[in-house]
Amino acid sequence: MHKDNTTERKRLLLKYLYREEVDTEQLYELLNDSGNLEEFETMKAVKKQLENPAQRQNVSVSEDVVNRVLLVAKQKSKRAQRTPRLAIFGSIGTVAVCALFVLLQTIQNDEEPIQDSNQTSSQVEIQWDDTQERIEMQQALNIVRQRTNPDLWDESDVIRLDSLYQPTSSLPGVQTARSTPQ
Protein backbone atom coordinates (compact mmCIF):
# COMPACT_ATOMS: atom_id res chain seq x y z
CA MET A 1 0.00 0.00 0.00
CA HIS A 2 2.80 2.31 1.02
CA LYS A 3 4.79 1.28 -2.05
CA ASP A 4 1.85 1.99 -4.39
CA ASN A 5 1.37 5.38 -2.84
CA THR A 6 5.06 6.17 -3.25
CA THR A 7 5.03 5.07 -6.89
CA GLU A 8 2.00 7.19 -7.53
CA ARG A 9 3.64 10.21 -5.91
CA LYS A 10 6.80 9.61 -7.89
CA ARG A 11 4.78 10.12 -11.03
CA LEU A 12 4.50 13.73 -10.01
CA LEU A 13 8.18 14.01 -10.83
CA LEU A 14 7.41 13.14 -14.41
CA LYS A 15 4.75 15.81 -14.67
CA TYR A 16 7.18 18.30 -13.26
CA LEU A 17 9.86 17.11 -15.69
CA TYR A 18 7.55 17.78 -18.59
CA ARG A 19 6.47 21.10 -17.12
CA GLU A 20 2.93 20.10 -16.41
CA GLU A 21 0.95 21.47 -13.51
CA VAL A 22 1.85 19.82 -10.20
CA ASP A 23 1.16 20.30 -6.54
CA THR A 24 4.32 22.18 -5.51
CA GLU A 25 4.01 21.20 -1.87
CA GLN A 26 4.03 17.51 -2.73
CA LEU A 27 6.82 18.07 -5.22
CA TYR A 28 9.16 19.70 -2.69
CA GLU A 29 8.39 16.91 -0.28
CA LEU A 30 9.33 14.35 -2.92
CA LEU A 31 12.52 16.09 -3.98
CA ASN A 32 13.72 16.27 -0.39
CA ASP A 33 14.22 12.53 -0.61
CA SER A 34 17.62 11.71 -2.13
CA GLY A 35 16.29 8.59 -3.88
CA ASN A 36 13.55 10.55 -5.57
CA LEU A 37 15.97 13.29 -6.52
CA GLU A 38 18.29 10.71 -8.11
CA GLU A 39 15.43 9.24 -10.11
CA PHE A 40 14.40 12.70 -11.20
CA GLU A 41 17.94 13.46 -12.39
CA THR A 42 18.06 10.16 -14.28
CA MET A 43 14.81 10.87 -16.08
CA LYS A 44 15.95 14.41 -16.79
CA ALA A 45 19.15 13.12 -18.42
CA VAL A 46 17.20 10.71 -20.62
CA LYS A 47 14.80 13.45 -21.62
CA LYS A 48 17.73 15.65 -22.57
CA GLN A 49 19.10 12.92 -24.80
CA LEU A 50 15.73 12.33 -26.37
CA GLU A 51 15.61 16.02 -27.21
CA ASN A 52 19.01 15.93 -28.88
CA PRO A 53 18.31 15.90 -32.63
CA ALA A 54 21.74 14.44 -33.38
CA GLN A 55 20.77 11.26 -31.60
CA ARG A 56 17.40 10.98 -33.21
CA GLN A 57 16.41 9.89 -36.64
CA ASN A 58 15.20 12.83 -38.65
CA VAL A 59 11.85 11.53 -39.77
CA SER A 60 9.91 13.62 -42.18
CA VAL A 61 7.00 12.77 -44.36
CA SER A 62 7.56 12.87 -48.09
CA GLU A 63 6.44 16.08 -49.81
CA ASP A 64 4.55 13.97 -52.36
CA VAL A 65 2.40 12.55 -49.59
CA VAL A 66 1.67 16.03 -48.24
CA ASN A 67 0.67 17.15 -51.73
CA ARG A 68 -1.61 14.14 -52.14
CA VAL A 69 -3.32 15.00 -48.86
CA LEU A 70 -3.78 18.60 -49.97
CA LEU A 71 -5.25 17.42 -53.26
CA VAL A 72 -7.76 15.24 -51.44
CA ALA A 73 -8.69 18.19 -49.22
CA LYS A 74 -9.24 20.37 -52.28
CA GLN A 75 -11.42 17.77 -53.99
CA LYS A 76 -13.53 17.22 -50.89
CA SER A 77 -14.00 20.97 -50.49
CA LYS A 78 -15.17 21.29 -54.08
CA ARG A 79 -17.67 18.49 -53.56
CA ALA A 80 -18.84 20.03 -50.31
CA GLN A 81 -19.33 23.41 -51.98
CA ARG A 82 -21.24 21.82 -54.81
CA THR A 83 -23.63 20.03 -52.49
CA PRO A 84 -25.09 23.17 -50.85
CA ARG A 85 -25.63 24.68 -54.30
CA LEU A 86 -27.63 21.60 -55.27
CA ALA A 87 -29.54 21.89 -52.06
CA ILE A 88 -30.41 25.51 -52.81
CA PHE A 89 -31.41 24.50 -56.32
CA GLY A 90 -33.50 21.76 -54.83
CA SER A 91 -35.39 24.10 -52.54
CA ILE A 92 -35.92 26.61 -55.35
CA GLY A 93 -37.12 23.77 -57.51
CA THR A 94 -39.57 22.66 -54.83
CA VAL A 95 -40.98 26.18 -54.54
CA ALA A 96 -41.28 26.41 -58.32
CA VAL A 97 -43.13 23.10 -58.52
CA CYS A 98 -45.51 24.21 -55.75
CA ALA A 99 -46.17 27.51 -57.51
CA LEU A 100 -46.84 25.70 -60.76
CA PHE A 101 -49.25 23.33 -59.04
CA VAL A 102 -51.18 26.23 -57.48
CA LEU A 103 -51.25 27.99 -60.84
CA LEU A 104 -52.61 24.89 -62.57
CA GLN A 105 -55.27 24.49 -59.91
CA THR A 106 -56.36 28.08 -60.40
CA ILE A 107 -56.54 27.66 -64.16
CA GLN A 108 -58.46 24.43 -63.75
CA ASN A 109 -61.06 26.11 -61.53
CA ASP A 110 -61.48 28.94 -64.03
CA GLU A 111 -61.96 26.52 -66.90
CA GLU A 112 -64.43 24.18 -65.22
CA PRO A 113 -67.58 25.22 -67.26
CA ILE A 114 -65.68 24.81 -70.49
CA GLN A 115 -64.48 21.45 -69.37
CA ASP A 116 -68.11 20.46 -68.59
CA SER A 117 -69.15 21.09 -72.18
CA ASN A 118 -66.28 18.96 -73.35
CA GLN A 119 -67.21 16.04 -71.18
CA THR A 120 -68.39 12.76 -72.72
CA SER A 121 -72.09 11.94 -73.15
CA SER A 122 -72.00 9.39 -70.33
CA GLN A 123 -70.66 12.03 -67.97
CA VAL A 124 -73.48 14.39 -69.13
CA GLU A 125 -76.09 11.76 -68.36
CA ILE A 126 -74.70 11.21 -64.95
CA GLN A 127 -74.71 14.84 -64.11
CA TRP A 128 -78.14 15.60 -65.71
CA ASP A 129 -80.72 16.63 -63.14
CA ASP A 130 -83.79 14.43 -63.93
CA THR A 131 -85.54 14.71 -60.59
CA GLN A 132 -88.65 16.36 -61.95
CA GLU A 133 -88.95 13.88 -64.72
CA ARG A 134 -88.62 11.01 -62.24
CA ILE A 135 -91.38 12.53 -60.10
CA GLU A 136 -93.69 12.79 -63.07
CA MET A 137 -92.96 9.25 -64.13
CA GLN A 138 -93.58 7.99 -60.61
CA GLN A 139 -96.91 9.81 -60.48
CA ALA A 140 -97.96 8.26 -63.81
CA LEU A 141 -96.92 4.87 -62.59
CA ASN A 142 -98.95 5.26 -59.44
CA ILE A 143 -102.05 6.09 -61.49
CA VAL A 144 -101.54 3.03 -63.66
CA ARG A 145 -101.04 0.84 -60.63
CA GLN A 146 -104.09 2.25 -58.99
CA ARG A 147 -106.21 1.57 -62.03
CA THR A 148 -104.90 -1.93 -62.60
CA ASN A 149 -105.04 -3.14 -59.04
CA PRO A 150 -107.95 -5.74 -58.84
CA ASP A 151 -108.44 -5.21 -55.14
CA LEU A 152 -109.47 -1.69 -55.80
CA TRP A 153 -111.98 -2.55 -58.45
CA ASP A 154 -115.62 -2.13 -57.61
CA GLU A 155 -118.66 -3.87 -59.21
CA SER A 156 -119.03 -1.30 -61.89
CA ASP A 157 -115.55 -1.94 -63.10
CA VAL A 158 -116.35 -5.67 -63.73
CA ILE A 159 -117.19 -6.43 -67.31
CA ARG A 160 -119.31 -9.44 -67.69
CA LEU A 161 -117.88 -11.69 -70.34
CA ASP A 162 -121.20 -13.02 -71.50
CA SER A 163 -122.35 -9.50 -72.09
CA LEU A 164 -119.61 -9.18 -74.56
CA TYR A 165 -120.77 -12.31 -76.44
CA GLN A 166 -123.67 -11.47 -78.81
CA PRO A 167 -124.06 -14.02 -81.68
CA THR A 168 -125.36 -12.19 -84.73
CA SER A 169 -126.02 -15.18 -87.01
CA SER A 170 -126.12 -18.98 -87.00
CA LEU A 171 -124.31 -20.90 -89.55
CA PRO A 172 -126.13 -23.82 -91.26
CA GLY A 173 -125.48 -27.14 -89.63
CA VAL A 174 -123.98 -25.51 -86.69
CA GLN A 175 -125.77 -25.56 -83.50
CA THR A 176 -125.34 -23.15 -80.97
CA ALA A 177 -123.47 -24.56 -78.10
CA ARG A 178 -125.31 -24.67 -74.93
CA SER A 179 -123.96 -24.99 -71.62
CA THR A 180 -126.93 -26.74 -70.30
CA PRO A 181 -128.48 -29.85 -71.91
CA GLN A 182 -131.81 -29.29 -73.38
Binding site: T7, E8, K10, R11, L14, K15, Y18, E20, E39, T42, M43, A45, V46, K47, Q49, L50, E51, N52, A54, Q55, R56, Q57, N58, V59, S60, V61, S62, V65, V66, R68, V69, L70, V72, A73, K74, K76, S77, K78, A80, Q81
Partner: protein
Protein backbone atom coordinates in the same frame (compact mmCIF):
# COMPACT_ATOMS: atom_id res chain seq x y z
CA UNK B 1 -1.06 35.88 -41.83
CA UNK B 2 -2.41 32.33 -41.56
CA UNK B 3 0.63 31.22 -39.59
CA UNK B 4 -0.60 33.32 -36.67
CA UNK B 5 -4.03 31.73 -36.63
CA UNK B 6 -4.88 29.03 -34.12
CA UNK B 7 -5.61 25.48 -35.18
CA UNK B 8 -9.31 25.97 -34.58
CA UNK B 9 -9.37 29.15 -36.67
CA UNK B 10 -7.61 27.36 -39.51
CA UNK B 11 -10.00 24.44 -39.21
CA UNK B 12 -12.99 26.76 -39.37
CA UNK B 13 -11.55 28.58 -42.39
CA UNK B 14 -11.14 25.31 -44.25
CA UNK B 15 -14.36 23.62 -43.16
CA UNK B 16 -16.64 26.61 -43.62
CA UNK B 17 -15.02 28.57 -46.42
CA UNK B 18 -13.01 25.85 -48.14
CA UNK B 19 -9.80 27.81 -47.52
CA UNK B 20 -7.16 25.45 -48.93
CA UNK B 21 -4.26 27.49 -47.63
CA UNK B 22 -5.65 27.25 -44.12
CA UNK B 23 -5.75 23.48 -44.38
CA UNK B 24 -2.25 23.39 -45.85
CA UNK B 25 -1.05 25.43 -42.90
CA UNK B 26 -2.62 22.91 -40.53
CA UNK B 27 -1.01 19.97 -42.29
CA UNK B 28 2.43 21.59 -42.37
CA UNK B 29 2.14 22.64 -38.75
CA UNK B 30 1.48 19.11 -37.49
CA UNK B 31 2.91 16.80 -40.13
CA UNK B 32 6.14 16.07 -38.28
CA UNK B 33 4.39 15.19 -35.04
CA UNK B 34 1.90 12.94 -36.78
CA UNK B 35 4.44 11.33 -39.05
CA UNK B 36 6.93 10.92 -36.20
CA UNK B 37 4.33 9.09 -34.14
CA UNK B 38 3.27 6.83 -37.01
CA UNK B 39 6.85 6.12 -38.00
CA UNK B 40 7.74 5.35 -34.40
CA UNK B 41 4.91 2.84 -34.22
CA UNK B 42 5.35 1.05 -37.56
CA UNK B 43 9.07 1.53 -38.30
CA UNK B 44 8.59 1.47 -42.05
CA UNK B 45 8.94 4.60 -44.18
CA UNK B 46 6.64 3.57 -47.02
CA UNK B 47 4.00 2.27 -44.67
CA UNK B 48 4.28 5.39 -42.50
CA UNK B 49 3.70 7.53 -45.60
CA UNK B 50 0.56 5.56 -46.45
CA UNK B 51 -0.78 5.68 -42.93
CA UNK B 52 -0.02 9.40 -42.72
CA UNK B 53 -2.11 9.94 -45.82
CA UNK B 54 -4.91 7.73 -44.45
CA UNK B 55 -4.89 9.75 -41.24
CA UNK B 56 -5.34 13.08 -42.99
CA UNK B 57 -7.95 11.68 -45.36
CA UNK B 58 -9.95 10.61 -42.30
CA UNK B 59 -9.45 14.07 -40.81
CA UNK B 60 -10.77 15.65 -44.01
CA UNK B 61 -13.76 13.30 -44.04
CA UNK B 62 -14.64 14.06 -40.45
CA UNK B 63 -14.22 17.79 -40.94
CA UNK B 64 -16.72 17.74 -43.77
CA UNK B 65 -19.14 16.03 -41.42
CA UNK B 66 -18.05 18.21 -38.56
CA UNK B 67 -21.50 19.08 -37.26
CA UNK B 68 -22.03 15.52 -36.17
CA UNK B 69 -18.55 14.15 -35.71
CA UNK B 70 -16.08 16.83 -34.77
CA UNK B 71 -16.45 19.33 -32.03
CA UNK B 72 -13.36 21.33 -31.17
CA UNK B 73 -12.87 20.04 -27.64
CA UNK B 74 -9.25 19.94 -26.61
CA UNK B 75 -6.38 20.48 -28.95
CA UNK B 76 -6.51 19.68 -32.62
CA UNK B 77 -3.17 17.89 -32.43
CA UNK B 78 -4.53 15.52 -29.77
CA UNK B 79 -7.51 14.75 -31.93
CA UNK B 80 -5.44 14.14 -35.04
CA UNK B 81 -3.00 11.93 -33.14
CA UNK B 82 -5.90 9.89 -31.85
CA UNK B 83 -6.98 9.35 -35.46
CA UNK B 84 -3.39 8.45 -36.38
CA UNK B 85 -3.30 5.95 -33.53
CA UNK B 86 -6.54 4.36 -34.71
CA UNK B 87 -5.23 4.19 -38.27
CA UNK B 88 -2.07 2.44 -37.03
CA UNK B 89 -4.11 0.02 -34.91
CA UNK B 90 -6.48 -0.71 -37.79
CA UNK B 91 -3.50 -1.50 -39.96
CA UNK B 92 -2.03 -3.76 -37.31
CA UNK B 93 -5.33 -5.52 -36.84
CA UNK B 94 -5.77 -5.95 -40.58
CA UNK B 95 -2.42 -7.65 -40.67
CA UNK B 96 -3.50 -9.90 -37.80
CA UNK B 97 -0.40 -8.90 -36.01
CA UNK B 98 -2.29 -7.61 -33.03
CA UNK B 99 -5.44 -9.59 -33.58
CA UNK B 100 -5.89 -10.20 -29.86
CA UNK B 101 -5.99 -6.51 -29.05
CA UNK B 102 -9.06 -6.04 -26.90
CA UNK B 103 -9.70 -2.33 -26.86
CA UNK B 104 -7.22 -0.58 -24.68
CA UNK B 105 -6.62 -3.37 -22.26
CA UNK B 106 -3.33 -2.37 -20.72
CA UNK B 107 -2.46 -5.92 -19.70
CA UNK B 108 -2.36 -6.84 -23.34
CA UNK B 109 0.53 -4.50 -23.92
CA UNK B 110 2.56 -6.03 -21.16
CA UNK B 111 2.07 -9.49 -22.67
CA UNK B 112 3.45 -8.52 -26.04
CA UNK B 113 6.77 -10.15 -26.67
CA UNK B 114 9.64 -7.92 -27.70
CA UNK B 115 10.48 -8.39 -31.32
CA UNK B 116 13.57 -10.39 -32.01
CA UNK B 117 16.08 -8.95 -34.40
CA UNK B 118 18.52 -10.85 -36.51
CA UNK B 119 22.28 -10.24 -36.23
CA UNK B 120 22.00 -8.26 -39.48
CA UNK B 121 19.45 -5.99 -37.84
CA UNK B 122 21.74 -5.47 -34.90
CA UNK B 123 24.61 -4.58 -37.22
CA UNK B 124 22.40 -2.12 -39.01
CA UNK B 125 21.27 -0.54 -35.74
CA UNK B 126 24.79 -0.18 -34.42
CA UNK B 127 26.00 1.50 -37.56
CA UNK B 128 23.32 4.09 -37.47
CA UNK B 129 23.94 7.37 -35.81
CA UNK B 130 20.36 7.63 -34.59
CA UNK B 131 20.77 4.75 -32.22
CA UNK B 132 18.48 6.32 -29.65
CA UNK B 133 15.51 5.69 -31.91
CA UNK B 134 16.43 2.05 -31.93
CA UNK B 135 16.36 2.12 -28.16
CA UNK B 136 12.88 3.67 -28.23
CA UNK B 137 11.75 1.03 -30.67
CA UNK B 138 13.03 -1.67 -28.36
CA UNK B 139 10.62 -0.55 -25.68
CA UNK B 140 7.38 -2.48 -25.19
CA UNK B 141 4.69 -0.95 -27.47
CA UNK B 142 2.74 0.65 -24.63
CA UNK B 143 5.84 2.45 -23.32
CA UNK B 144 7.01 3.35 -26.81
CA UNK B 145 3.65 4.87 -27.58
CA UNK B 146 3.70 7.11 -24.52
CA UNK B 147 7.25 8.24 -25.26
CA UNK B 148 6.31 9.13 -28.83
CA UNK B 149 3.18 10.96 -27.75
CA UNK B 150 4.76 12.84 -24.83
CA UNK B 151 8.30 13.42 -26.03
CA UNK B 152 7.81 13.89 -29.78
CA UNK B 153 4.18 14.85 -30.24
CA UNK B 154 4.23 16.96 -27.07
CA UNK B 155 0.87 15.88 -25.78
CA UNK B 156 0.17 16.24 -22.08
CA UNK B 157 -0.20 13.14 -19.95
CA UNK B 158 -3.88 13.96 -19.63
CA UNK B 159 -4.23 14.02 -23.43
CA UNK B 160 -2.27 10.79 -23.72
CA UNK B 161 -4.55 9.11 -21.20
CA UNK B 162 -7.58 10.25 -23.21
CA UNK B 163 -6.15 9.11 -26.51
CA UNK B 164 -5.01 5.74 -25.28
CA UNK B 165 -8.02 5.16 -23.05
CA UNK B 166 -6.08 4.54 -19.85
CA UNK B 167 -5.91 6.43 -16.59
CA UNK B 168 -3.45 9.27 -16.27
CA UNK B 169 -1.57 7.29 -13.62
CA UNK B 170 -1.15 4.41 -16.06
CA UNK B 171 0.17 6.79 -18.70
CA UNK B 172 2.57 8.32 -16.19
CA UNK B 173 3.66 4.89 -15.01
CA UNK B 174 4.38 3.75 -18.55
CA UNK B 175 6.42 6.86 -19.20
CA UNK B 176 8.37 6.41 -15.98
CA UNK B 177 9.28 2.82 -16.85
CA UNK B 178 10.08 3.86 -20.41
CA UNK B 179 12.59 6.45 -19.18
CA UNK B 180 14.11 4.02 -16.69
CA UNK B 181 14.45 1.39 -19.43
CA UNK B 182 15.91 3.92 -21.84
CA UNK B 183 18.43 5.01 -19.27
CA UNK B 184 19.59 1.44 -18.81
CA UNK B 185 19.81 0.94 -22.60
CA UNK B 186 21.75 4.15 -23.08
CA UNK B 187 24.21 3.17 -20.35
CA UNK B 188 24.75 -0.21 -21.93
CA UNK B 189 25.09 1.27 -25.39
CA UNK B 190 27.60 3.87 -24.35
CA UNK B 191 29.72 1.36 -22.42
CA UNK B 192 30.27 -1.05 -25.23
CA UNK B 193 30.90 -0.91 -28.93
CA UNK B 194 31.04 -4.61 -29.33
CA UNK B 195 31.37 -6.34 -32.71
CA UNK B 196 28.16 -6.57 -34.76
CA UNK B 197 25.95 -9.49 -33.84
CA UNK B 198 27.10 -9.63 -30.26
CA UNK B 199 24.55 -9.57 -27.48
CA UNK B 200 24.86 -5.89 -26.74
CA UNK B 201 22.66 -2.99 -27.64
CA UNK B 202 19.17 -1.62 -27.29
CA UNK B 203 17.55 -4.65 -28.87
CA UNK B 204 19.03 -7.17 -26.52
CA UNK B 205 18.02 -5.25 -23.43
CA UNK B 206 15.40 -6.80 -21.23
CA UNK B 207 12.88 -4.11 -20.46
CA UNK B 208 10.87 -3.51 -17.34
CA UNK B 209 7.20 -3.65 -18.19
CA UNK B 210 5.34 -3.32 -14.94
CA UNK B 211 3.65 0.03 -15.02
Amino acid sequence: MRSTLSDDQLLAAYAEKGDQLAFEQLVRRHKDRVYGFIMGMVRDTELANDLFQDTFVKVIDVMHRRRTHYSPQGRFVGWILMIARNVVFDYKRSRNKWKDVAGDNEEYWEQLPDENHTPDDLLYFKERSQWLDDCIQSLPPSQREVVLLRQDAELTFREISEITGVSINTALGRMRYALINLRAMIDKQSQSYAPPGSDIGCNSYSTTTHA
